[in-house]
Structures are given as structure tokens and as C-alpha cells.
């Protein structure tokens, strides 16, 4: 299952899309997000199953473009 990874490096910044991981479940997705996107000591990081993302804008789409 593909999960999108979001993170922020500072509390006063918005969450930003940093990439995606392929994982069997939520717990593994957490490990992989941590291991793959470790370029920052993020203050917050989270993963969202790609299937849970609902596009809103007209050209909204998944995967999330333009990380």
C-alpha cells in the first residue's frame, strides 16, 4: 500500500508533502517514512494512505504532485 508522507520542520510552518512509501501496514509506513525522509529532524511527521486522499480542486489528484 502506498502512503504519502508529510512533515514540517518547524511548528510555525505548514505540513509539506515530502514523499511516499510502500508499506504493508501503518506501523511499517511509520518506520519507512522515518528511515527514508530523515534529511531533517522534523518536529512533526505523519503518513496518510494514498487511498484516503480525496482531491478537492478541479485538477486535484493523487499522487500528490510537487511534493
Amino acid at each position: 500500500m502506498i502512503y504519502e508522507v508529510f512533515a514540517r520542520k518547524d511548528h510555525h510552518q505548514e505540513l509539506k508533502h515530502v514523499g511516499s512509501v510502500d508499506a504493508a501496514d501503518d506501523e511499517l509506513a511509520k518506520v519507512y517514512a522515518w528511515a527514508l525522509y530523515d534529511e531533517e529532524s522534523w518536529v512533526e511527521m505523519c503518513v496518510v494512505p494514498r487511498s484516503a486522499i480525496i482531491p478537492v480542486t478541479e485538477h486535484g489528484r493523487v499522487p500528490v504532485w510537487g511534493n
Partner: protein, 319 residues
């Protein structure tokens, strides 16, 4: 390779090329033409495969690292490289290519990494020269892509890559200085490594500009510099480094020409068993491509390491 003429004959291709040359950033598949997508996928495949294949090459050297600090440093480098491979494959996956197939489904000869990563790194000197030379080549190529690429998602993803590659380079160069300074066997091993790895990296940048009339990647602004320009950038960093530590390289700066000049017939024959360049046997680029296509001595083993056993989960590993 598609000729520029062919591309510009197609109206849609021509329109996209004009837009891109005027500064347009491609953000999604809908912005792409078939020609653009194909050129981008080729570039990402080479990028991903190069990073991926450096993993086993570096790891087998890290496994015998002389100290715990140096072991940690190279394992961290392997970690970065695999992460970078994942970035390229992820971008391809978003364009409809199966990432698992890219990694686990292809035959060893189907990977599109440079010949340099089909070679064994047999001692610590070769490991650190790989960091100093190969990773420097990687930085030359990728920072050019980073600065120039018309593909937005790639440009953003490369921020992480660029930064981490600098650490690899620093690791390589500081060890090269240490080995040179240590003298004796360590220094001799360093010189031997440079002797085969310097020409190996020069060849890596590919066909000289005067033999190459066009490049899809330049037309679509997937990169900015030509092969010869990139080769010059690489030599401008590595030749002075080697000279400053008293290590000989077969190239020098020609002040009159204002550029670096290679001191042997380029390209020439290579003996992978002896790891020796035969400077008295010049060859054509077609012969180089043939050698590349036949792959080097470690191709099969490195791919087997990465893929483990085909059925994945439980088999013993062949490597």
C-alpha cells in the same frame, strides 16, 4: 535516439519545447508529451539505477571497513544512496512505472547504471576514491539537473540528494588526503585506485560533444550542461585535489586553452581483470558502448544482492 528534427516536426512536441525553453516548469503528466515523458523516464532510470547499484558496491567495501567510525560513515552513505534511488523510482512510479519491477523484476544487464558501478571495490583506498571520484561525478550531474531541470517534482526532490552527496564527497576527499599523507602501502594503494578510477569516471560522462549532435535531455531542459562541460567540471575539482596531495592523474590544466586536457587517447581499452587502462590501445566509442553493454565483472552479483531471491520472503540468499 530521437533527433531534434523529428521532435520539432511534431506540433505538440514543438510547442512544449518552446514553452520549456521559455522557462515553463512541467508539474504533472498532463503537461507532458510522449517525447518528454520518454526522455524523463530514461533520465530517472539512469539516476535511480546509478544510486541503487552504488549500494552493494559500497557495502561490500564497508563490510571490511578498517575502523568502526569509517564503517558507520560508509553505511550512512549506502543509506543515502538507496534513499536517492528510491526518490528516482518513486517519481517514476507516479508516472505509471511499477517500482517493484524496477528493483526486483529486471535482469542484471537491464539496469542502466554506469560501467564504473559494475566493478569491485577491493580495498579501502578504492572505497574512498569512489566517494571522491564517483560521488563527485554524481554531484556534477545531479546539481546540473537540480539547477536546470524543467520537471518540478524532480527539482524539489533533489534538494535532499545534493546535500547528502556533499557529505560523501567530503568523506572521500578527507580520506584521500589521509592516505596520501600516511605514505607507504596506504599511499601506493591510493595511487593504484586513482590509476583505474580516474579514467573510469572520465568515460562515465559519455560521448564527447563533437560526436553527439543533439540530446533530448538538453532540448527538454532535463539537464543544462553537455557531456564535455560536465567532464570539465569534474576535472576542475578532482585534478587540483590529486595534484595537491601528490597523486598523479592522466590529465592537466592547459592554460592556453583554458580547459583541462586528457593525457591519453580517449577513449581507450580497459582490462577489467587487471583493473588497468591500456593507454596504447585507443578504441572507438562504439567499442566503449559494447563494453558497457556487456557489463562489468560485478553486475550479476550486485543485482543478486539487491534482489535476494526472486520469491522474496523466505529463500536463502544467493549472494
Amino acid at each position: 535516439m530521437t533527433a531534434v528534427k523529428d521532435l520539432t516536426a511534431d506540433q505538440a512536441e514543438r510547442a512544449l519545447i518552446e514553452k520549456i525553453q521559455a522557462g515553463f516548469t512541467v508539474e504533472s503528466e498532463e503537461d507532458m508529451t510522449p517525447g518528454y515523458k520518454k526522455a524523463l523516464l530514461t533520465q530517472l532510470t539512469v539516476q535511480g539505477d546509478t544510486e541503487l547499484m552504488s549500494g552493494p558496491a559500497y557495502y561490500l567495501a564497508a563490510r571490511d571497513a578498517p575502523t568502526i567510525n569509517s564503517r558507520i560513515a560508509v553505511i550512512a552513505i549506502v543509506h543515502d544512496e538507496l534513499g536517492h534511488a528510491n526518490i528516482a523510482y518513486r517519481l517514476m512510479e507516479d508516472l505509471g512505472v511499477d517500482k517493484r519491477w524496477l528493483i526486483y523484476g529486471r535482469e542484471p544487464h537491464e539496469f542502466k547504471h554506469p560501467y564504473g558501478f559494475d566493478q569491485p571495490l577491493e580495498n579501502w583506498a578504492e572505497m574512498v576514491v569512489a566517494n571522491g571520484f564517483f560521488d563527485r561525478a554524481g554531484i556534477c550531474l545531479l546539481s546540473d539537473v537540480h539547477e536546470n531541470t524543467s520537471y518540478g517534482p524532480l527539482r524539489r526532490a533533489l534538494v535532499k540528494v545534493d546535500r547528502e552527496e556533499i557529505l560523501h564527497l567530503r568523506h572521500g576527499e578527507s580520506w584521500m588526503r589521509r592516505l596520501a599523507k600516511a605514505g607507504g602501502e596506504a599511499r601506493e594503494a591510493l595511487q593504484r585506485a586513482v590509476d583505474w578510477m580516474f579514467p573510469m569516471t572520465l568515460e562515465w560522462f559519455g560521448l564527447p560533444d563533437h560526436l553527439k549532435r543533439h540530446s533530448d535531455q538538453l532540448v527538454y531542459r532535463l539537464k543544462g550542461k553537455t557531456n564535455d562541460q560536465l567532464r570539465q567540471t569534474w576535472m576542475a575539482a578532482t585534478v587540483p585535489l590529486c595534484e595537491s596531495i601528490g597523486i598523479k592523474v592522466p590529465a592537466h590544466y592547459d592554460a592556453a586553452k583554458g580547459e583541462y586536457v586528457i593525457d591519453y587517447p580517449f577513449p581507450c581499452q580497459y582490462d577489467p581483470e587487471a583493473k588497468r587502462w591500456l593507454f596504447d590501445e585507443p578504441i572507438t566509442w562504439d567499442q566503449v558502448f559494447e563494453r558497457w553493454k556487456a557489463r562489468g565483472p560485478m553486475n550479476q552479483r550486485y543485482v543478486e544482492m539487491i534482489q535476494g531471491k526472486a520469491d522474496g520472503l523466505f529463500g536463502g540468499r544467493r549472494w
